[in-house]
Symmetry: D2
């Protein structure tokens, strides 16, 4: 039995980690840590876990933690994990970091969009198993991808890998539920003003844009020009990512679907659909569903992908990575299908 | 490995049965039946199950079915199961009927609220394990309770059993999400008119009222006078049931919680909370959460219970019943905790 | 042209007052006041009013205000208006107070549920025009009713006036949208946890209970026993109030509707429907729609009423009161019908 | 007093016409027509209008209608108005057609996306007053724009007019509430499956694409290449249209806002905001709010516009057109500001 710790247990990603690990047959969570709510039982912060997770949230002691557990999940705000992940690794633990701290190949890009990096020389594997499975299984530190990047990269990987689209003309228009904003109160998630509304935000400046561009660029073998605009939609969970791209030469929908199905043929968490996916096909599960529609009047192609932002977009993918890092079945603990309706 | 069949696979309860049984380690669904969508794969009707349930929906042959499987779940509209359940039992299968057909001790009450009964002499056990665990484990036919009755009965059982409240003055004001209406299109679930609205319906005539009254009466050892009014709320899943009752003598909240905790001390799916529960404490799980608040200025007591109408209120409870009938662990396959947020 | 001031311009009731008065042909808002957002234009706080209300929010000077305007609307938190309303009246202005400060005949009841009163001897007219039209038209200070009380009192007034129901057995189970919580951020209106949930709150202790009881008692000519339990529902606007009451003797739906229609025959904002009303019949309007359903098997009667909590439940009713106080047509400025869908 | 008739009174656009015209001081609706619901009062179909619109819906007699009224609104499904609009015009009535039948300069384009045209030689003015005010005021037949086109065209008109963007690279990713689907029941608006979901639809084939392209092309003085993808979002009302376009040369946000403000300086229903608009800034009103954000790292520009799809996107704009056609104040009857919250 593998032992695990969750740092950042008060947040939504922390809650999802605990919820999913509670039914994972090979892992036991032995410590839940957070500065907020220290001293309280998990279930007083997350009432869904009453009777299921009975641990007390405590202030972290990273030295002890690293010795006590096989793997640590760090679900902390950006800029926090980089302060203590080196100690965890030195102490012998493997780490899956759900924050942005180690997602960038070039720390300068991180610093441009976030803050000064405190452990810039520490290298992680970018934890998108569909692209980096082998590397993840050997890694001691995995940088778990952002929610928008997971949906966006998976939706375009087959096209860029095969150089089928113009890498200079990629538009991703994404829509997220409100859980992506997090557990902290905020004007943008105040129900009276958001519950029957929608908005674009950070329309040209979102921090996930350089993360998406980094990975699309590696797939394409050259830098890409990416426009990324996210929107906030009044549902709780789910991301729908709409990619508007341009084929270098006309292709039929059938041919395109064939390429996608071939690319993802061994993947347990990517489903290529005949039609466009809807968010509720995947909410509650670790799946990414993808569909596409080429414009028969032009070379434009629309690719739509959907994920549960807290599962495949965060904690489910973190567990998928952990399974790989620890030699378990990749899908272990992630068998739940989406709720319907 | 137990083999199971699901009749009524196109509906929401059927979908939930398939979703939950897909991860049940002791049961294999070998047949999915429905008149609607016959010939189609389950996953084309329920896209959340793509890659998970690959069976084809077929028109039922009850004779063959009864011989081929250990247990049949009948998730059909009211008045349908009674036509073929006798054949299933004769063929040797055990049956969990999710419809109302066998819920009433007195078929005349059924006929008053539904239609003429075609197998009125066939007796089932009312499948609320918290009240009838022993009977369920011996039963060959279990009548799975309605969604509102599950929430309502569990919220008042300890009080009526101990004769603590006036059985002539019970008001239950319940609120349900729209999935309770079912998969068929309907004016009341048309998003433009229901998505930002709410309504009471069948305010004094709902079919679940006599079902609740039957069970409360048995608990009280005498007939009760029950007022039951349901409401439709624009969320997808979840029931919140608010019982307004009157204590025979003043009691503190602490004393009342003690009685509830004692009554439910061995239950794995009932949680008695210090505060009032919210629907999202349980949506996605088989839990029923209960909280209460006595009025310090009068003898009124408010008891609030919440369930996921499709899990504890339908398919989860059906699996709980099946586990008991087949000698499996009662909670097997029902380990999922609620989604949060 | 009548001149008006709005104190508490940053809140939702303040916003609604400004929105509605912007198209009132007989009134001009000349001052918008608040401590929060002082110095900012109204439209930067309430973007819906951009180009419509161009006033700057300023810190209030009550002496000047009283001299400058005919009527002041005080849409401040409870316990605030009582500090300055005496000065406004002395200065010559008429006042419609949207807070609870002057709603209680007995200041001791106010103090039991709110805080110590600072002007307990100042008497206001309870501003429910359907009950106190003559008094309101002569008043200089009107206490605008609470949102739940407006819906609840209108739903039962005809029954209590005619002594048709048992005044000892009144249950009101009410459901409100989230705008009732106000513009301030709060855990209970955080979209991720409330957007797909519902909850009861203050199940036996809500401050609107004594307000409702006061008015029902006056209608009945004797004290009533009232149980009041509110719920929070994930829609933005609207209250649905379900009254469970007991007829002294059996009556048909037709007879009951006749009594209601007679009672409200001259009312421009109360509609008695043949069927039960839905919240979206009234959201966006000043209407209160009422429907009822007697239980043919017992003497229970269910009466359902719906209002827009910010219009008939707050700012619309305040303008209705103002129209009466100033001798204008009662419905002036309140002609908008509900949005559909 | 101008007299008007509404054909298609059972639908949502018909309802909005009646709701808005009910408070229009210069117009009286004298006839409401539909094949559905003929014989019923308007208020039994649209309960929000009870006590406000007391007309009976009748089957249309176009000859009589044309003689009896000054103006007819045709809010019928596509392909219906073209059957009788010629008769209405011959009879002397002016017509605002809310369907797509007369929106296309070239009937062949209409026929490509809809059906065979039955009066292809009849020419209408495209009723977007911000672009065709003079023409509308002289017109006898106005083709009211589609909802998506209204938002999309207004968001890009200043840029194309001044040739500031590449007309070959226009992507419009639009999001609509469910009322756009209409009053007819449909799988896509079934609350259980749409209420917590979202989807793209007709991703490259939507009928509004050629309508948008026609008008953008006229503004640009040359054909444009347009990619248009709509999405369905679980709110009732509102469209948010996100345009991804490419500036020919870098421009600051300030310069761009200046161009928009200059272009729309005399418009009463277009507001250019400093920041990006949210849908609830306009729902309930006839406004179109526009905001933009240029990408400082590339030449991409994001322009976001929001409208109420049933008001500025349908019935409000129809009344705005009627006002112009009949010489009334353009904004008469359309003074309502958006609801907030």
């Amino acid at each position: 039995m593998i032992s695990a710790a969750v740092v950042g247990a008060s947040g939504y990603a922390g809650c999802e980690l605990l919820r999913l690990l509670a039914t994972h047959p090979g892992v036991k969570v032995v410590g839940t840590y957070d500065i907020r709510n220290a001293g309280q039982p998990v279930s007083s912060v997350h009432p869904n876990l009453r009777g299921i997770v009975d641990l007390i949230i405590t202030e972290p002691d990273y030295g002890k933690m690293a010795k006590a557990v096989d793997v640590v999940f760090t679900a902390t705000p950006h800029g926090v994990a980089m302060k203590f992940v080196p100690r965890l690794l030195e102490g012998g633990a493997k780490v899956v970091d759900l924050s942005a701290d180690y997602r960038f190949d070039d720390p300068k890009v991180f610093e441009l969009y976030y803050i000064k990096h405190e452990s810039p020389n520490l290298k992680a594997v970018y934890g998108l198993p569909e692209l980096y499975r082998v590397e993840v299984s050997k890694a001691r530190l995995v940088a778990n991808p952002g929610c928008y990047p997971t949906a966006a990269i998976l939706s375009l990987a087959p096209l860029l890998k095969d150089k089928l689209i113009d890498p200079e003309r990629i538009i991703i228009d994404a829509k997220s539920g409100t859980s992506g904003v997090g557990a902290g109160l905020s004007e943008v998630t105040h129900h009276p003003t958001c519950g029957a509304s929608m908005r674009a935000y950070a329309a040209t400046t979102h921090r996930h844009a350089p993360e998406i561009a980094q990975e699309l660029g590696k797939l394409a073998g050259r830098p890409v020009k990416l426009g990324f605009t996210p929107h906030l939609i009044p549902i709780v969970r789910g991301i729908l990512s709409t990619a508007h791209v341009f084929l270098k030469k006309p292709m039929t929908k059938g041919a395109l679907l064939g390429i996608y199905r071939d690319f993802y043929r061994n993947e347990c968490f990517v489903r290529v659909l005949d039609d466009l996916p809807q968010v509720n096909f995947v909410v509650g599960s670790n799946y990414c569903d993808i569909g596409l529609e080429p414009d028969t009047k032009s070379n434009r192609l629309v690719v739509v992908s959907v994920i549960d932002n807290l599962i495949k977009g965060a904690s489910g993918q973190a567990i998928q990575n952990m399974n790989l890092m620890l030699g378990l079945d990749e899908g272990k603990g992630l068998e739940a299908s989406a709720l319907r309706p």
